[in-house]
Amino acid sequence: MASLVKRSVAELVGTMLLVYFGCGAAVITLTTAARESGPLQSLTIGSLGGLADWLAIGLAFGIVIAAVIYGLGRVSGAHINPAVTIALFASKRFPVTDTVAYVVAQLVGGLLGSIFFYLSAGMDAVTIGGLGATAPAGGITFGMAILAETIGTFVLMMVIMGVAVDEKAPPGFAGLIIGLTVAGIITTIGGLTGSSLNPARSFGPAVGDLLLGGPDVMGALPIYIVGPILGALIAVFFYDWVVKED
């Protein structure tokens, strides 16, 4: 097995790529809409293409997740999501020291992904795109957003358990199926919460915005920490219970 340092670096790079390409797609959607309708318009994702905007963003996330799983999965396990790592730890499948190192690496990777995207796309990525940060849509309360994030991450973690953790799972499909699952979840929940499903994915752009003068979304960050971790924990224990033979 690769050393903990190498595995942590793999998690950092994987999460960085997730944020660069996934959140980057959200930024491009907003900056493109701004060019089409003018910067004074109140822009949200969906302004140009409706639900297709979310499908495109979901596919960007899904494809990069599949790429990271196939590219780095055998090195670190390619969790690239603190909620997944914490759920595997809570179900006694992952050691505590590795869990701490992975979560730190994922958070740093998320921030680096945002910084690199800003360096690639310029200040519009911050001022118009908000670095792809997540915040609930209008009319969505804190509680509603946590519920949506919990349900979305529950589905993600349940699929991870079914196609990867379960010893009976057919090999080779995990990256493809998990990527498509994330794309599908984002297409639906994106319009409610931004569909983070991943504390590191929200942490990177939120801190990046704070550092670079973008919109202040730190107040919404607890949604994307509590919801995904709760959803992943429920999923892992639900799966273990439901597959256990009586």
Partner: protein
């Protein structure tokens, strides 16, 4: 079964193994035993090499072909 390689050289030797790739009968002198690493784990866990190795019997020709240009 006789060793195919020995038979081609005009010798008559009993085979003790069969090449896993081409099925050629092989005597002790011509059977090549290779040890292959085994890995467990993989997404979402890091893959790790296990202590046990998987043996594989090959004839000289197949052994050479499997190595390619290495």
């Amino acid at each position: 079964m006789k060793c195919y390689v020995c038979a081609k050289e005009g010798r008559d030797t009993d085979a003790v193994a069969v090449c896993i790739v081409c099925g050629m009968g092989l005597c002790m002198d011509h059977a090549i035993r290779e040890e292959n690493d085994l890995w467990e784990g993989g997404y979402p866990f890091p893959a790790k090499k296990v202590k046990q190795q998987l043996p594989r019997i090959l004839c000289p020709e197949c052994s050479l072909a499997m190595k390619g240009d290495k």
